[in-house]
Every structure is written in structure tokens, then in C-alpha cells.
Amino acid sequence: MKILIKGGRVLDPAHGIDDTFDVLIEEGRISAIEKELKASGAEVIDAAGRIVTPGLIDLHVHLRDPGYEYKEDIVSGTRSAAAGGFTSVACMPNSNPFNDNKAVTLYIRNKAREEGFANVFPVASATKCSKGDTLAEMGDLKAAGCIGFSDDGRPVASGEVMRRAMEYARGFGMPILSHAEDLSIVGDGVMNDGFVATELGLKGIPWVAETAAIGRDVMLAEYTGARLHVCHISTRQSLDIIREARKRGVRVTCEVTPHHFTLTEEAVRTYDTNTKMNPPLRTADDVAAMREGLADGTIDAIATDHAPHHLDEKNVEYNIAMNGIVGLETSLPLTLRLVDDGVLSLGEAIARLTCGPARALGIPRGTLEVGAAADVTVIDPELKWVLEADKLASKSRNTPFEGWRMKGAATHTILGGRVVYQREM
């Protein structure tokens, strides 16, 4: 089966390519990127006025499978990814059971390969059951196909355990991902600590809960020489720590979510539980800092922290609502807003969704090389649409962007030479 993508603006930031080309896909691989290609018998996608990019990569999603299939499963989650233009996702280990052993990893990979609509790269627990005491079998997990280790959502409390996890992971050439949070400081906070929390009478989560943990993990990475990827940073101070560490040569990368560069804590004023997530929405200055970090390259990747929850888990009082929002289908337009806002060039924006995340976690994707797996996204950057939660491909509806006017969307998502998503126009 052949696909010919005609006349699009090909953007491959990894190779500095930004020009009009035709892209030919054969046998699941990219076979040619040239001007005015002809291919008999190929399915033709007219990409005039559109951009053609490497398939987008999201380093941080929760597919909820196994265990919480009522929120999402590998099929619906990857369908949501495809609808958002993503061909690769890294899924976090907090399923039930945890992905802390080879059997769960293989279940995830097999189901994704057989029934899914995106590549799924599992991130395994760093410790058994993400309990923070005993190291997981990292060697075995790597052999089974995991790409990194994290006790996401249940951050490793003990400095000693984190040190050993880094040393052990380094021995296998694997990164540690840190959901950085000092839970003793978080306490029972439910939103950013500060004036808005004071006004609303909601318990606050101070920014230092995040930076105290990032400080520790960055220093442990410096000490152990391990590769550290800091998940979903949300404060200016976090960014400063990482920027300084990089100058010293510490091997640390980081990501930011679209909601943390788009929304502020002001959104919580409605007590809408779709504004409740962890880390919480921060201040306007933090949002500005996230944008600066994206622009200066300190932030390698935009990742959604796609966290589907059932309506019943959100349609409750604010303090008992689950944390998190779905993100796969809003990430691309929210990222393209940064281009409109003059924060990033289009090439930089695409880099933060492709080669940036690929390099951060060593995922063998994110470019359009001839011979590479044909993961390609065709984007109409001007397409105007309105987000309706009821129409999401995800099983869940928990988004704070309901009714938002969006600009830009994937029109075709191609996974290994197969069109897995085509937008109805």
C-alpha cells in the first residue's frame, strides 16, 4: 500500500527541513521526500496549505489499562492520540496492577500493537507497586520494551531509594522520570497555594512542594550521573533549577503540559473540578515562565499528562474530585496558540511535539527520514473548530477547554504507513 502526500509544507525540525515537498510512503516506511513525486497506484493526500510533520509524540499519558478501563483503555486512548495527531505515546505505570513487571509491559505492548492506533512506549514503575521501597526489575522491564522508570503520581519519598533507582537505571542506560512532589508539603492541598486559594477557602499546594522535590532529584542526578526527566513542571522556580543544572552539565530534561502554559489558577474560581489537576494550575507569572522555558529550549517537550476520569469522579465537591484532565485532543491546537502568540516559531512548536520528546526519552521516532517508520501527521494549522467534550475520541470528558475556539488540527494521522485517523471535513 502506497500513500503520496502531495504539496504540503514538510516540517522536520530534527533535520532542519522546512520546505514544500511530496512525501511517499511505501511498505510502512517513508520511501521518498522530494519535489513533485509521482507514484502510480498510491492513495493521494492533498496537503496543499497544510503542514506535514513527523508523527507527534506525547511523553506522558495515562491509558488506564489494565484496571481502569471504565476511564480509558489502550484502544480508546490511542484512538484519542490519533485524533490529536499523535502517533506515539509513553504511558505511565499507575494502572492496576502497576506496570512494575514484564507481564504487564507485554500486555500493554501487545494490545497496543494488535488493537491500538498509536505506538505505545510503556514507562514502568521505578519501585515495586510504586511503593517507594524496593526497586522494580528494571533490566527485565527494559528487555520487555519499557523506555524509562517512574513512580508517577506516587513520587519516591525516600532520597536513598531515589538515589539507588538512579544508579541502577543508569547501569541499564535508562532514564528516571520524576513526578516531582514533596507529598509532606502538599498535604491535603487541592489547588495552587496563594491568593486565589485564600479567597476560595481551598487548601493550597505551595510551589515549593514541586521545587523541593526537583531540587533533590536534580542533585541526585548530578551525583549519580543518571539521566533524569522531570515531568510536567509548573513553576518558574522549577524551571530555574533545571536551567542552572543543565549549565553544570547535569543530564536533565523536562516537559510542560499545555494546560500549564495556557491556564492560570484563576480558572479554579468556578469550582469547576476540571480545573483540578496535579501539579495544580499556577499563577500568570508561572505561565509566562513556562512559555519562556519553551522558547529558550530549557523545556524539551510538550506532554499532556492525559488523565482520563469518569464523570462520576469529577461531578463531586472540589476537594474530593480526582486530579487530572484529558489532553491528547487539545494539545496540538493549544501548542499552535504559542505560535500565534509569538512565543515559538512553527518549527519550534513542532519540535517540542516530535524530536524534543523523542530525544528526551530516547524514543526512536520523531523525524521524517527516508527509511524510517512512516509515522506522519498532516496538520491544517488554520482550521477553526470548537471543542466539544462529547465528541472526544477518549472515553472520558474531563476537559477544562469545553467550548473553546481552537485553531489548527490534524487532518490525517498516519501510523506505520496506515491512516489511523482522518478528520471529517
Binding site: 477557602g201 481551598l202 493550597g204 465537591e317 472540589y318 476537594n319
Partner: protein, 310 residues
Amino acid sequence: MSFPHKHILGIEHLSREDIELILDTAESFKEVNRRDIKKVPTLRGKTVINLFYEASTRTRTSFEIAGKRMSADTINISASASSVVKGETLEDTARNIEAMNPDIIVMRHSASGAPHYLAQRLTGCSIINAGDGAHEHPSQALLDLFTIREHKGRIEGLTVAIVGDIAHSRVVRSNIYALNKMGAKVRVAGPGTMIPPGIERLGVEVFHDIEEAIRGVDVVMMLRIQLERQGNTLLPTLREYSRFFGLNTENIKLAREDAIVMHPGPMNRGVEISSYVADGLQNVILEQVENGVAVRMALLYLLAGGEEKL
């Protein structure tokens, strides 16, 4: 003049005119409470449901008496806050109650924002917030204003010191909004662990010492210190709290001679307030309770759209 709100969720959304209308209305009801026959037919045929998810004696009784003295049918429901996994959800409970066509639901809940959440989902009846988490307690602030106005003849230009656990108090937030809207100056004081970030942006001056805070003020408002706070990370001991933030016969002299002493109750005698002050000449604590009934009658009356004469 008709009242422009369907719900009373907080003082934040009321105007000075709204507040004055409530206080003026309450004044006429106060007289009813001192009659021999303490009942008027104003709300006959109206149904008021007190839905309390948190224990309360004073506020619930006050709303109940307020309703009954105006001939409304008042029903009390004590509910326990549900978790996500068990029990009926707040919305389901409220919808079931709404299906029985009450006119007003008076609600207390430990979750900040719970009455706002319901107000977005219920269509039929009015909601009065009788205290939500650490957010607002509007009827308390209104009865406090009423009591201050009765004693001082005005609120504009007065200085009020609120002392205690500012961070976890809904009484504080409602009073700050209310006093500022009425033109009073507000000071707050408490240990560093009980002063929430950004509180000064609400228009208050922050003190960490009761003596400085109450110097020259017209009103001293003491807050209940929750005894379980002792010995955790917020407070070392009640003994120390009492020494630095308790109101006693000595430090009360720093306030104006004619200052009044208020407390929303229930009091911890010997902790935040000494018995000599609590029972002393300057205290208006039981007047606050009496006025609470009149203010709550005014709220029920204004929300029920009562046009009938008293």
C-alpha cells in the same frame, strides 16, 4: 425594593446596597422575636430545608427558629459527606430534595464551593450558604454587621480586629468582604501558620501579635481555635497560643474603651478568650446569637420574595 439575588452563596457577590437592605429588613424582624407571640404568617406555605453536612448547633437552630417564626415549614436533614466510592453524591441528595419542591435549601458543607456547585445544578429552589469549608459563612458576617451597627450606630470608619486561625476560617472571609464593603478597616492577627498567603490583598492589615492588632480598635472579633490543631504542625501548644493570641483583661485595655468583644462561638474559654472578657461588660456575644435569628429571618424573607406585611 426587591432583592436581586436568587441565592446567598457568599458576601463576595453582594453589594453594599444588598447588605444594607438585609440589615434594615432584619431590624424589623428583631422586634418580632421579642413579642409574646413570636410568629408571623409571612412565609406560610413555604418550605425551608436545612441540609447540614457538618455538625452545627447554633447556625442550624437559628435558621430553624427563623423559618418557624415566619410560619415556613422547616425540615432539618443531617447528612454525612459522601466519598466518591460510597454513599449518595451531593448532587443526588440535593436533586432528591429538590424533587419535593422546597423553596429554600440552607446548606452547610465541609467542602469549600459545595453550595456553588449545587447552585449550578439545581434549578428550582434558592440556596443559602450556611458555611462552606474555609470559604464563606455569609449569615454569620451579616449578623456580626448587624450587631456592630446596633452598638456603634454605623460601620463606616470603624476599625475591626479579627484574631485567630485566619487561614481555616470561613467567618473571616465573609467578614472581611462585608466590613470592607461597609467602609470599615479590617485587621487580622494570628500565628504565622494561620495567616494564609495573599490575605492582605483582600484589603486587610496583617499582625502577628494580638497587642498590636487590637490597639485602638472599635471591635475585637475573636475566632474559635480548633483544639485539634494543638500539637500538629500548625500550633505547638494551646498554652502558647493563649499567651500570644488570647484575649484577656489586660490586653483588652489596648482597644478603645468603648470597644465591643465578639465571638462567633463556640468559645474555648481560657484559650482564645478568658472568661472574664467573655462575660465582661464589653462582650456582645449573646446579642450576636439573638441577632442571628433576625438576620436569618431577613434572608429567608428576601429570598422567598415575601411581599406580605409583617
